[in-house]
Subunit: 488 residues, 2 copies
């Protein structure tokens, strides 16, 4: 179905003239109500739409998402990339998917440098011996076993830290705060996460021996928020941790009272140079153009503090259950539906990069993809950036999901799933279901990321959405490439 | 004001006849509105009531409660009984109270056996190496430094554990769950806390080498709930910890799947045989009967995991601010108002016991007492068990606090403040302000007990209530002893 530029122009031309076939359907038959869909584009047949509605409604009645998340988080628990726990998670996935009866289930292994957390502790030796709730940022170099002790200097923001002269904080431990608030679309995370990623190297250029940041999260429990840092090249690497929000408040209050602070910071960690990870891939093969691929999935690894329930056990459950629903639906799609359970996402999108490397030759066969990696909340919006030819199918998906509270948010060049970024950077069109993230960063990347935070009804809505998406993209003849704006 | 049995009967007789002087006041003067009070009992004069209203309204406008809790939890932090941190808290209190200008500020020291937490950890070595969030119960004997490793046997309740034969759990680690739900009056805590207090010795009689219980709390964070245990005499002492609720769920899910579990449990602790604690006492001396005492207060010690903000920094702030408000009110009460900041409550009501021992000779001079030790929520009810002679003054307090959402809950023989129990067991009448405890046990005794959990407006309401209580009990001539039902 590869179309060249001329075909694409023709398609757009036809659409501009409004000549694509629109069917106005108001009848209801076989228990499936099509009246909610005003226009079915010519690229897709009515039976396919009817089946999408059936899958959607079936998902809302019964699906396996919650029991899959429960099984994964209970029997495997935390799944840090490159560890034996992540390997057990792959075995778990292969076993589950094989039992479900997918056409093929394979693991594509790859190697990573793994980082493993050790003992961690932070004590304010001055003024009072208070113990603070701390956790190392992923990738942090280790402190000595006995820790690192130094005076604490407080900055309210990354900008404040950046404003002091280089080498002016020799030997200090730097604390840096921020003002993140809950946002539905998670934009506040994007706004403040540079503190975690870049703060350690900026502090090092200022002369600091260590850095603790306010957790890049919105929860008010004593469970600090981890996440990957990125050391700048050529800059001294210093140990870096995050304090829980109540502890960050405590530090800022002491600072405001002009009470001198010293901290003993213990962040022991270990790096394993060569560790194995892998992507687990299962397929429902297409009956007409099996080489054309629709990809859904989520990442199998998690941080080590919680059991990775909302990040990303939920996504695993949602997309596995959606694929299973299509598999059990009794109709084989035109295109192949490929479920990818990505490995080693948290520590650097290793799974997404390894996949692109291996599948670069067939990248153009990837029609559209969507990753579920924003927790377990209800989806409130879908966004996309696709060709004009593909737009009517997207609109159809929007119309079918509207009764589930999902609205179309228009063109968006950024996408939710990080494992898709490598492919999107190479031209893959973008599609995202946006889940409500207002409370996501209360527990994301903390020890509180456990099963009890998941509302099964919200998973059901997500399963319905992914099933409709995967099924219709696999059924339509439309191509979604050749977008007018570049993705990022 | 000691009255004998005959005087008491006379007082009751007079009240029964409805002959006490009731003033119906509907006028408003000097900016203070008395119209809300229909009846002022003969035992109290109108000016005193007017002043109570003034104190109440002033408390709602401005008081020092929140800034006191902030200072205590920030500058001292956790205040485990018998430690240098608790000693610093006494110094802090003496300094604050002296600066406020109380007539006398003293420390009454006493000695306790102190218990100090060390390293703690719990790992499910089978099936998967998952780490669980655990904390030792207060008073637990220590495991070896390397921990204790054994098979885990699960019981859903204390009754289930009790039902198995003695010595049938040789060498096991026992897990015991429960079904506590949030309750406004905290009654669910009372119902399930026997698992913590008695569970360890019951498990020992069944042969177990260790016990972990579901946290006696309602929070769904990974911060387990500590609290004192009581080893039964003559029973082998085994190490005892609590798991957070998400971890307790995890254990129960694995058990339901028939997956064998082994746990390595590290609960290192230390007992210091002789440690110093103390009660801090400040007074506003009465001008007419200074030997008669009205006591308000809260406990200064806290558990070590959080900063003791809601338990019991809030009570410290509330009662200190209420006393300060009376002190600054420009009128000296008839009776002495004594503020007692109790020491070492958490590990066995040591402060309350030491106080009774020292003040037993003047117990009958204690007119009425109230301790604030149920968090930082709004007061919704007041309960009491006092003499008929005292009842009109209680009703007056109820009437004055009704506009603040506080209703009278009738006679109650149980009281909120544990430090008062020793005196109440000896005949002191009871009085309690009941705070909303629906969410109290989400954070109580956990690392999450930090300042951010406190709503300053709720503290203001509490301060108003304690100021009105202390002032009016100190102003009335009524006696509250000689109750018709025994307190407990």
């Amino acid at each position: 179905m590869f179309i060249d530029r001329n075909n694409y122009r023709n398609a757009r031309f036809l659409r501009t003239l409004g000549l694509y076939v629109g069917l106005i359907i108001v009848s209801s038959y076989s228990g499936v109500n099509l009246s909610e869909v005003e226009l079915i584009p010519s690229e897709i047949n009515e039976k396919s739409v009817k089946h999408a509605i059936l899958l959607r409604d079936r998902a809302l009645r019964k699906n396996e998402a919650f029991s899959l998340v429960e099984s994964l988080t209970t029997q495997i628990g935390p799944r840090l990339a490159g560890t034996s726990a992540e390997a057990r998670a792959r075995e778990w996935a292969v076993k589950q998917l094989s039992n479900m009866g997918f056409d093929s289930v394979i693991v594509e292994p790859f190697q990573i440098e793994a980082w493993v957390r050790g003992r961690e502790d932070a004590i304010l030796t001055k003024p009072s011996g208070q113990r603070l709730a701390v956790t190392a940022l992923g990738g942090s170099v280790s402190t000595p076993e006995a820790g690192l002790e130094a005076e604490v200097i407080v900055f309210k923001s990354l900008a404040d830290l950046e404003s002091v002269p280089d080498n002016s904080l020799q030997g200090k431990i730097v604390y840096v705060g921020h003002t993140m608030r809950p946002t539905q679309d998670g934009s506040s995370y994007g706004a403040f996460v540079p503190l975690r990623r870049l703060g350690p190297s900026i502090a090092a250029t200022k002369g600091a021996n260590g850095i603790v940041i306010r957790s890049i999260g919105t929860g008010y429990h004593r469970n600090p928020h981890t996440g990957q840092l990125t050391y700048a090249e050529g800059v001294r690497k210093i140990p870096a941790g995050a304090l829980s929000n109540p502890d960050a408040d405590q530090i800022e209050r002491l600072w405001e009272r002009n009470i001198p602070m010293r901290m003993r910071l213990v962040l022991v960690s270990q790096t394993i140079e060569t560790a194995e990870s892998g992507n687990v891939i299962a397929e429902i093969q297409g009956h007409e153009v099996p080489w054309e691929l629709v990809v859904i999935g989520a990442h199998l690894d998690s941080w080590d503090l919680g059991t990775g329930a909302i990040d990303d056990g939920a996504g695993i459950g949602i997309t596995m259950a959606a694929a299973k629903l299509i598999l059990d639906g009794g109709r084989r799609p035109r295109r192949t539906i490929r479920l990818v359970l990505w490995g080693a996402e948290e520590q650097g999108i290793h799974g997404g990069k390894a996949y692109l490397e291996r599948h670069r030759g067939e990248l153009r066969n990837h029609i559209l993809a969507s990753e579920s990696d924003f927790g377990a909340g209800f989806i409130w919006q879908l966004t996309s950036n696709v060709s004009s030819e593909g737009q009517p199918t997207i609109d159809l998906i929007g119309a079918l999901l509207n009764p589930l509270g999902i609205v179309q948010g228009g063109k968006a060049v950024s996408v939710v799933g990080p494992d898709l970024h490598p492919m999107i950077n190479e031209g893959l069109p973008s599609f995202s279901f946006r889940q409500d993230g207002t409370r996501y960063f209360d527990v994301h990347h903390t020890a509180n990321d456990t099963l009890d935070k998941i509302e099964p009804k919200a998973l059901d809505q997500n399963v319905a959405a992914y099933a409709v998406f995967a099924w219709l993209i696999a059924e339509t003849t439309a191509d979604f490439w050749k977008v007018t704006e570049p993705n990022k």
